[in-house]
């Protein structure tokens, strides 16, 4: 298993003289901090970046995707990526789109409580991530984080459906409107929560689509929303944006003219919902039907953050406008869930 360090709280150490956070991912250091790792798999750690996750950019995603692809081609059983938690969800989604036809699992893992405290969640998360990378039957990009406040279970969230929903709790990451792929008990026992996944197949040929176009924005609609924000993006040469509409995906009528203008200029406009849970639908109310007429494309129950990443990816990897829209609208990595179920919103039995 390859462990790629990119920075963040997990597996880093504070240098008390300078106050700087230093990565501690030489294999010796890791083995010293987490002796359990040695029993799980042969570990190959490598530091590829050292950034707090708020400083990570789409070009870093490209680097991560490239190196991950190289490692997978060299034949590892799985790749674990250590990442700060702030934008961990964005990176994980980006990798889901960039690494097509994955033959083995890629697990992105972070920690909410710093690893220089004895109570850190880093150890259990990382041990579980390595166990999954080494042995899980699925070959998808997942996020491994605590299921609750106890040091018992780590959930494996599908990267396109996961969201950080708390600033500090160790169970901040939740799968929205779907089911996590599985949970790891005590750092070693994997229990699958669904059989709907892409299976591990080392013979499958990975296709790398690692480019991202940054001329994309995410806007949140609110009662005093100023439509000139849309005009500004269009004038600045943005190629597309995702609007987090209210409720089923609505934007007010004050914005219609700006939206129409964007469409005319060939700027792609997509809508998700700021409700976080639930599906957009622009056919129920007049407003929705108006928006559809203006060329706005609703994205079912895709998470707004995932939609943003996907739009960057689509613009990076497809030339023609229709291809871009088609790619964004089509489910390719579990980002759209067709069946929304009743029961607890956490989406799995508890």
């Amino acid at each position: 298993v390859t462990i790629l360090g990119t920075g963040g709280t997990i597996a880093s150490r504070v240098d008390y003289r300078t106050g700087a956070v230093k990565p501690a991912v030489s294999s010796e250091e890791l083995a010293e901090i987490l002796p359990e790792l040695r029993e799980l798999a042969f570990i190959e750690p490598e530091v590829i970046l050292n950034k707090y996750s708020e400083h990570i950019t789409p070009s870093d995603w490209t680097t991560m995707a490239q190196i991950t692809a190289d490692k997978i081609e060299s034949g590892v059983s799985g790749v674990v990526i250590l990442h700060g938690t702030d934008t961990l969800g964005y990176t994980a989604a980006a990798l889901s789109f960039a690494l097509r036809e994955l033959p083995v699992p890629v697990v992105v893992v972070g920690s909410q409580r710093s690893s220089d405290r004895p109570s850190s969640d880093a150890a259990l998360n990382l041990i579980s991530a390595v166990a999954v990378a080494a042995r899980a039957p699925f070959a998808e990009v997942t996020v491994a984080m605590h299921e609750n406040l106890s040091d018992d279970f780590v959930l494996l969230h599908r990267a396109t459906r996961v969201r950080k929903n708390h600033t500090s709790r160790r169970d901040a990451f939740q799968t929205i409107d779907s089911t996590p792929l599985g949970r790891v008990k005590g750092g070693s026992e994997l229990e699958l929560l669904t059989d709907d996944y892409l299976g591990r197949d080392p013979a499958r040929e990975l296709r790398l689509r690692g480019k991202f176009n940054e001329k994309v924005a995410l806007l949140k609609f609110y009662p005093s929303f100023d439509p000139s924000l849309i005009d500004f993006l269009v004038d600045k040469g943005y190629l597309g944006f995702v609007l987090e509409g209210s409720g089923l995906g609505h934007i007010n009528d004050r914005s219609y003219r700006s939206l129409e203008r964007a469409s005319e200029k060939g700027v792609h406009v997509f809508v998700t919902s700021q409700c976080i849970w639930g599906r957009t639908n622009l056919r129920v109310y007049d407003t929705g039907r108006d928006l559809l007429r203006l060329g706005v494309v609703p994205l079912e129950n895709m998470l707004a953050e995932t939609a943003l990443v996907k739009l960057m990816w689509a613009l990076g990897n497809f030339e023609k406008g229709d291809e871009v829209v088609e790619a964004v609208k089509t489910n390719i990595a579990g980002e759209i869930v067709e069946r929304s179920l009743g029961g607890p919103q956490r989406g799995f039995r508890d």
Binding site: R13, V14, Y16, G19, E32, I33, Q112, R113, S114, S115, D116, R117, P118, S119, S120, A123, L124, N148, L149, S150, D151, D152, T167, S168, R169, R170
Partner: protein, 631 residues
């Protein structure tokens, strides 16, 4: 064992660390209240993993606890804990009210207040702190404390720290803690090891406690003031004794520890004069099962028949030392058992100083000793069980024996209810401390110091003098000052017109203490209810004599008010006419022959036995006198 030690001669040095729990509006690093509330609403479990300190070292005791796979369960009551206590949210800013109190304390002790307060983390991974560390900060350095006898003791530091979670149960492999106490601010005052006797240690602790109480912020609950002590004798070692709950224990702990250290130094000297060296104790545990093949000892024969082995180590020159008392009810062998229990699952051991006994014969012991090539002055320790485990246990026995060569081991000890101390854990080094990066340093501005100095602490001695002026004896004044009802006393006593302050003070100390001893739940007597009782007396609705019965009754009937209780007990004051009627009835039946004073006393006594609690004795006496005057 010497009956009385000359503490000067043995070079006793004691330093005390006093922890004063504060009743500030909020906890030290979050906005939860400081009142304990244990209605648990949630539970969660954790494992604490030792982290490398700045120097790349892992605390060996901490590592050991982790390797045992210990699980920690927490109960988090909603009324008294939040995500901060659960280590699920970064700490809030340092509570300014607590800092203010600590600085006031420091100023009173002439301690030098730091320019900036730096919060540090002290690694503690027994689970008592959810983060795996306790937050602490030095507020002031140096200073001194003046005792009532005019002597002074230097102060080393005044710190502000967070209290730990309360342990509620400990089962094999799982420790359970309640989070209500975690994070309550504590002022910690550390004296230098300049105290030369057990009674002086108590004086120092008392005085610091009183000064703390004079800040008005120290909680008046049981367990709100706790102390640790650092104790050494001339040729001994500084031993830290933690968790001394009461002052009566502190004196005994110091006596016990002084005695233990003197005895251990003697043992070390004896071993030295016998020529026992470290090399003599560099031995391997030996399988001596054969010596017990046909033993009549039930314990050993059962062990052998289920496949256990018996291993032993020879302790050269230790014969007679293992079972010699080193302090009351304590021996070198006890210390070996404590270490074995700390480091392994082995529960007990046998040693030759106690043999032959428990069915083990002299012949078996001799066979074992010859297997160990031991001679007359030697002792042996033997244990049955699974070879790997008992080898480890015996290695710990040898370790303790080696320590005996040099005298007193450097360690942290705990304190039992009867004030005997026991091995708690090896003493950690300074590397346990590192900066709390989540909280920036807090500057102590000149303005803050000015504000502190504008409300200086009144010396408790001055307050006690004031109580004496109110008519209390000095002894009673100290008792009520030290009691947790002092606030109530202060707000109540000056307000009462007829009831004397000394009566209030002695009721709040003596009567309540006795009821508590008898097992009454005096916590049911709220401030308001106690006040009500004294006001009823003051307003003449009942007699002074009723106070005890009311305390007793109302602590058992938490729903009843003062009036209801008086009625239920039949203690409502009788009208004067009714008392007159009773006097007439009683005196009318009496034989009035004899010396007038005697007759008067007898008559008053008989009337009082009828009306006790329902009439003031002075009124009874007056009416009886009047009635007798008519004869």
């Amino acid at each position: 064992l010497r009956s009385r030690l000359d503490y000067g001669e043995i070079g006793l040095k004691v330093g005390v660390e006093i922890h004063l729990q504060l009743s500030t509006e909020r906890k030290l690093f979050c906005h939860c209240p400081t009142a304990l509330d244990e209605k648990a609403t949630g539970r969660f479990t954790r494992r604490l993993r030792p982290t490398q300190s700045e120097l790349g070292q892992v605390d060996p005791a901490a590592l050991f606890e982790f390797e045992k796979g210990k699980i920690i369960e927490y109960w988090n009551p909603e009324a008294s804990s939040c995500l901060v206590e659960m280590d699920e949210e970064p700490p809030h800013s340092l509570n300014p009210e607590a800092l203010f109190s600590a600085i006031r304390m420091a100023r009173f002790l002439h301690s030098y207040v730091a320019d900036e307060i730096h919060v540090m983390r002290k690694i503690v991974i027994d689970g008592s702190n959810t983060g795996g560390f306790q937050r602490t900060c030095i507020v002031a350095l140096g200073g001194d404390i003046l005792l009532d006898d005019g002597e002074s003791v230097p102060i080393q530091t005044v710190c502000l720290e967070e209290d730990a979670a309360r342990i509620v149960k400990q089962k094999e492999g799982v420790s359970t803690y309640m989070l209500d106490r975690l994070g309550i601010p504590l002022i910690e005052v550390v004296t230098s090891p300049a105290i030369g006797s057990p009674s002086k240690a108590v004086d120092v602790a008392l005085r610091i406690g009183r000064i703390g109480r004079a800040t008005g912020y120290v909680k008046d609950e049981l367990g709100a003031i706790r102390q640790d002590a650092n104790i050494s004798v001339g040729d001994g070692t500084v031993v830290e004794v933690k968790g001394i709950q009461r002052l009566s224990q502190l004196r005994k702990v110091v006596e016990f520890e002084a005695q233990r250290q003197v005895s251990l130094v003697n043992i070390s000297n004896e071993l030295g004069s016998k020529g026992v060296s470290e090399d003599d104790l560099q031995v391997q545990p030996v399988d001596v099962s054969e010596a017990y093949e046909d033993t009549k000892s039930e314990t050993l024969s059962e062990a052998l028949s289920r496949g256990d082995k018996i291993y032993a180590v020879k302790l050269k020159g230790f014969s007679g030392l293992l079972s010699r008392d080193t302090a009351p009810g304590y021996r070198l062998a006890s210390e070996m058992v404590e270490k074995v229990r700390f480091w392994t699952d082995v529960k007990g051991l046998f040693h030759t100083d106690e043999m032959p006994s428990q069915g083990i014969t002299d012949r078996e012991i001799r066979r074992m000793m010859s297997k160990l090539s031991a001679s007359d002055g030697d002792a042996a320790v033997f244990i049955f069980g699974e070879p790997a485990e008992i080898t480890e246990a015996l290695r710990r026995v040898l370790e303790r024996a080696l320590e005996a060569l040099s005298g007193v081991p450097y360690e942290t000890r705990g304190c039992r209810e009867d004030a005997r101390t026991y091995f708690l854990r090896p003493r950690p080094g300074m590397s346990r401390m590192y900066p709390e990066t989540d909280i920036p340093p807090v500057p102590v501005t000149p303005e803050l110091l000015q504000r502190v100095d504008s409300v200086p602490i009144t010396d408790p001695r001055v307050e006690i003098d004031r109580l004496v002026e109110m008519g209390l004896t000095r002894q009673l004044a100290r008792e009520i000052f030290d009691s947790r009802h002092y606030d109530l006393f202060l707000s109540l006593a000056p307000d009462l017109k007829k009831v004397k302050s000394s009566f209030v003070a002695s009721s709040l100390t003596g009567i309540l203490r006795n009821l508590e001893k008898e097992g009454y739940d005096v916590s049911k007597l709220s401030r308001e209810r106690i006040e009500g009782i004294f006001r009823a007396v003051d307003e003449g609705r009942t007699a002074k004599e009723s106070v005890g019965s009311l305390f007793e009754f109302m602590s058992e009937s938490p729903e009843k008010g003062v009036e209801e209780s008086l009625e239920a007990l039949g203690l409502v004051m009788l009208p004067r006419a009714e008392i007159e009627r009773i006097v007439e009835e009683v005196v009318g039946r009496m034989n009035l022959e004899g010396e007038p004073e005697r007759v008067l006393a007898k008559a008053v006594g008989q009337v009082m036995s009828v009306v006790r609690g329902r009439a003031e004795p002075s009124v009874v006496s007056e009416l009886v006198r009047k009635r007798l005057g008519k004869e």
